[in-house]
């Protein structure tokens, strides 16, 4: 739209009259009431007026995000077209300055980020007409500094996993060169993207097993309906090399585990519904089941202290494991969150800290660095930020466009 056409079409014959009116101050009577409310400064002719400003300026972000920044997976459960990833400074005390940027994430899209390259990945879906018409599943690669799209890769089918957000619905390979994206139709598979070329390599089935836990340099481990695991080993080109099944180590009916491990130095820690802790070694080419220990003492078990929540686990840079805990747990309460976060030394298998979350806790994330902050999705679906060492609530992040902020990612 050019100025000229706006003028001619919109204002038509009235333009001359309006132009001639530009020089009169006809608004004075209407505005007299407010003009006196604030006692404006008298005009100061010695002071230079503000210069006209540039149009079109767009902000950018640092390639390495500060350690207290988080990336919030906002599902927007009541308007899923409008899902987002919101980049927030969790340490900023002034609420209005917390948002650093926002990316769209449509129809329960999935999100992950590269730990070293300045790239962010969103797997999302669209119908041609909102909720109807042809569906497209698209992987979108974002530039981390501009939040501009580097590339969109259109799926050849429409099978990408649509579920409440998971840390491992996507993953970057251990060597940083591949991206794995989970599919579920409900037939399960994952698609491999070459991150050097930004091209799709292919899709590999994972019969009976879901999600993409990164394993070794370029293997993928998935969790299976039989209570075991499946490792898919890829070759140098990202193609299927071999599959390896890890024998069942839990019963999906009677001793189910959460599919949401924290992975610490290549060891995946999967909490069970009733406080078991299963450890799987993800460092090698194939996953290896290591051992089981208990997050709860016999007394705590008797009181039904259980891990509970949606995205209930994370780790910090010191290698500590965090999980939300719920008292009086029972069948059906495993996703309902809890009122404490327990912090473990996974080497010593000891609980180090208990952080009370008086506003309830549904999901959690932990920021980077030596003095991490614990960020918790509370019962009002705002984010409570705790200082881990003191266990104290620092502040609550609210009014940042949050509706259902169900997964909190640390930044890189």
């Amino acid at each position: 739209m050019k100025c000229k056409s706006v003028t001619t079409t919109l204002l038509a014959g009235t333009l001359l009259a309006l132009l001639s009116a530009c020089w009169e101050d006809s608004g004075s009577s209407a505005h007299a009431a407010t003009a006196h409310q604030t006692a404006p400064a008298a005009l100061d002719p010695d002071r230079a007026p503000l210069p006209p400003e540039e149009f079109g300026r767009i902000e950018t972000l640092p390639a390495n995000y500060p350690k207290d920044w988080i990336l919030v997976d906002e599902v927007n459960f009541s308007s899923m077209f409008g899902g987002k990833v919101i980049i927030l400074d969790a340490a900023e005390s002034k609420p209005e300055l917390r948002i650093k940027g926002i990316m769209d994430k449509s129809l329960i899209g999935n999100f992950t980020q590269h730990p070293t390259r300045p790239e962010l990945y969103i797997m999302e879906s669209f119908h041609e007409r909102g909720s109807r018409g042809k569906r497209s599943d698209v992987l979108v690669i974002y530039d981390k500094t501009t939040l501009n799209i580097i590339k969109e890769i259109l799926w050849t089918d429409t099978t990408r996993l649509q579920a409440l957000p998971e840390r491992y619905s996507m993953a970057v390979s251990g060597d940083g060169k591949l991206l794995f994206v989970a599919n579920f139709s409900p037939a399960a598979s994952f698609t491999v993207i070459d991150l050097d070329s930004h091209e799709r390599v292919g899709t590999i089935g994972t019969p009976g097993c879901v999600l993409t836990y990164p394993t070794g340099k370029r293997s993928v481990t998935s969790i299976c309906s039989d209570g075991g695991l499946l490792t898919t080993v890829l070759d140098n080109r990202g193609q299927l090399k071999s599959r390896s099944r890890i024998a069942p180590f839990f019963d999906t009916d009677t001793t189910p585990i959460f599919e949401r491990p924290a992975i610490i130095d290549g060891l995946a820690y999967f909490p069970g519904f009733q406080g078991e802790m299963h450890v799987v070694d993800m460092r090698g080419e194939e996953a290896k089941y290591l051992e089981q220990w208990s997050l709860v003492s016999p007394a705590e078990r008797a009181a039904n202290w259980r891990p509970a929540g949606l995205s209930l686990t994370d780790r910090d840079d010191r290698g500590r494991f965090y999980t939300i805990m719920q008292p009086d747990g029972h069948e059906g309460s495993h996703q309902h969150g809890g009122n404490q976060v327990w912090v473990f030394d996974v080497k010593k298998k000891q609980r180090l800290l208990v952080i009370e979350t008086p506003g309830w806790a549904i999901s959690l994330g932990v920021t980077r660095g030596d003095k991490p902050k614990l960020v918790v999705t509370n019962g009002e679906l705002n984010l409570d930020v705790f200082d881990v060492e003191s266990g104290k609530l620092v502040h609550t992040l609210s009014d940042f466009g949050n509706v259902t902020p169900l997964l909190i990612h640390k930044s890189y």
Binding site: F77, S78, S79, M80, F81, L107, I108, S125, H127, G130, S131, R132, R135, T158, L161, Q162, A163, L164, E166, F184, S185, P186, C209, V210, L211, I223, C224, S225, T252, D253, T254, P256, I257, F258, E259, R260, L310, D328, E331, G332, S333, H334, Q335, H336, G337, W360, I362, G379, E380, L381, V403, T404
Partner: protein, 173 residues
């Protein structure tokens, strides 16, 4: 006990009477059982008498504590212009879904319930009901309510959830 979205939807804050339910009766068959749009050919008991003398069910199908909703997690179609077993106008019923086993307090029997989603219109966004009894993570997709089950329908956009009686659970036969 907080539910996940208590404050978000006021109605979900109503206290939910825990319904008795038993599951584990039918394991691992979820998607298969309800893979078709018509009544699946299941090895479950069918009613001999279509007109029982006394009311066969009791309770309020717009309430989260209604017996059929023991494993549900979503917006109840009963509040959205549909009913517990029909979809609101203009939507489409998904053909692939997850199941639960809920006990009907009136006749004491356990039934297999299919939680078919209604799809094709933006989320109904009322009467959020999260019961989760017998819910399992994604690796047990037949029992996982975290998945968007608008699969096998023209639209993948979730609107609300129904609770359709498939038949008696095996244990009752």
């Amino acid at each position: 006990m907080f539910k996940l979205f208590d404050r978000w939807f006021e109605k979900s804050a109503r206290s939910v009477a825990q319904q008795s339910s038993r599951r584990g009766v039918i394991k691992g068959l979820g998607a298969m059982l309800v893979g078709g749009a018509s009544i699946p050919l299941l090895p479950v008991a069918r009613a001999a008498d279509p007109a029982p003398a006394r009311p066969a069910e009791d309770g309020d199908p717009t309430s989260c504590d209604y017996w059929r909703y023991c494993a549900v997690d979503g917006f109840l179609c009963s509040c959205c212009g549909g009913s517990y077993n029909s979809c609101p106008p203009g939507t489409e019923m998904s053909t692939i879904t997850w199941i639960g086993t809920c006990r009907n307090p009136v006749d004491g029997r356990s039934y297999v319930i299919s939680y078919n989603d209604c799809c094709g219109t933006t989320q109904c966004a009322t009467c959020l009901c999260q019961r989760d009894e017998g819910d399992r993570p994604l690796y047990r997709s037949d029992k996982s309510n975290d998945v968007n089950w608008c699969l096998g329908s023209k639209s993948s956009v979730y609107h609300c959830s129904t609770a359709v009686v498939v038949g008696l659970a095996f244990e009752e036969q």
